[in-house]
Every structure is written in C-alpha cells, then in structure tokens.
Symmetry: C2
DNA sequence: GCTTATTGTATAATGTCTGTGTACATTATA
DNA sequence: TATAATGTACACAGACATTATACAATAAGC
C-alpha cells in the first residue's frame, strides 16, 4: 500500500488518507473486490492512530466506495456510475484546482512546468 | 474586490481568503502599488470577522506580497522573484492537484470536461 | 459448537485550531 | 493637535482532530 501523508499539513490526516485512497479507487489501482489493509496496519504504516484511518475509511464507505465489516475488513465495491454531480461542489473543486496552480506559480514554479504537470494529469485521467 | 468564499467549506475562511488573494496577486490583477481594502470592509463583504481577514493579510505579508501598516492599509509590493521552491511543498501541491482532478472524476465529471478545465488553467497561467 | 483472535465501532478525553469580541497602537488627515 | 481610520494583540468559546480505551461482531481453528 503505497501511501504517504504529511503530518504537518494543514489538511487533516484523515482527509489526506481518504483523498489518496480515492485517487487509487478512481484510477483503478484498487479494483472492486480488493481488500484494503486493516485500519491498524495502515495506521502503523502512516504513524497515526487507527481511529484516524477508520475515519478515512468511513468517508469512503459513505461515498459508496467501500463496504466495511468487522473482522472481514474494508472491501472495495463496484461503484455505480455517479449521478449528476453537485454543481456547487464541482465549482469549488474547479476553484481549488486553479488556486493550487497559481500557488505553484507563486512558489516559483514556471508556467511551463505547471503546464507539463497538468498535461500529465490529463493524460492519466483520459487513459 | 471580486472575492467569494464558502463559509461551510472544510478549508478555513482565512486560508480561502489568502489563497484567493494570492491568485489575484500572481496573475497581476492586483499590481504592485495597489491598496487592498481595509480588513473591516473586506470582512463585511465576506461576512466574516475582520480579524479573520487580518489573518489572511498577515499570511500574504509573511510571503512578501503585502506591506501592512496601520492607518495606511495593505499595500501590494513588487515581490522579488521567488527563491528556489521548497521541493516538499511543491510535491504536496502536485499531489493535491492530482487528487482534486481524480475527485472531480469521482464526482461524475467526464475526463473530457476535466481536461478542458485543466487546459483553460494552463492558458491562464501561460498568458 | 466453542473459543479465540482479528477486525471495525463507539465514546470520551485532550490538545489544537478557527473565528469572534474587545481593547489598543499607530498614523494620515483635517 | 485632535480625530478617525486602520492594523495588532490577546483572550475566549466552540468546533475539530487525534488519541485512548473499551466494546461488538465474526471468521478461523479446534
């Protein structure tokens, strides 16, 4: 399970974990039928408390990605095609994208490099 | 001052304000020599306490964007070319970009639309 | 079947963060 | 010199994040 989080980030750990896992779920790295590691094991890997991992798992379960059951673990589900996306949430995601891009710019990363990064993301998504 | 924040977001208001303003600073909408609105006025616009805006201003001042002085206000500085970017921070920005893109995918937004969005960001940055 | 170990769940405790209230310091302007 | 406009400092209440601890469910082994 290749996962990394930044403990000193302003984003809470449980959300970083959920976000990272969601990426793996969407891009197919964690196909339906897979079992995620037990909360205690992943927690050890990430140096957090297992309840923090459990919280991340619960977020993904509520989104329909996982089926959680005691003793068996966290099973990846075949998720239905999403319904029509929430426009507000979508708009906020769009804005966050743009802000992060500009924040990289402010960091001194060249427009060229950012463009390259964005293109590589596009590629990953389209495939 | 065209600014909007989402009070119900998980990102704190002061950070949303700082991020949005930084975007305007980087893209030239707020050129050096400009005066930002007083904290109390912007706070009214955004329906937050003025200390919340002050906190955002202070973040940008520490980043070298603003010179804050009592009674005169928040002056936009000509910021020196950024030093070599912090690689850890940069990597985390990259990861957040990718995660948000995949989160849009999970929301049911098509790869095509996301690609379009990313391309429009690239355009904005390159110009 | 029964026991046990493994797994997620529930709840409380604790520290940190966010936003606000209020008083203050500074300084341009009249 | 007085006044008003502006940012600053600091304390407080409430929310939030993480951890600690006890519990419930259930697959596996016997």
């Amino acid at each position: 399970m290749l996962l990394r989080i930044q403990l000193d980030s302003h984003l809470p750990a449980y959300r970083q974990i959920a976000d990272s896992l969601r990426t793996l779920l969407v891009d197919g790295s964690l196909p339906p039928g897979s079992l995620l590691p037990p909360v205690r094991q992943l927690a050890l890997d990430l140096s957090v408390h297992f309840n923090t991992v459990a919280q991340a798992y619960r977020i993904l379960a509520e989104e329909g990605w996982l089926d959680l059951r005691r003793r068996r673990g966290a099973l990846v589900l075949k998720r239905d095609a999403p319904k029509s996306p929430d426009p507000d949430f979508t708009a906020s995601l769009r804005r966050r994208l743009r802000e992060i891009a500009w924040e990289m710019r402010a960091q001194g990363i060249s427009a060229k490099e950012i463009a390259h990064e964005l293109r590589s993301i596009v590629k990953g998504i389209e495939s």
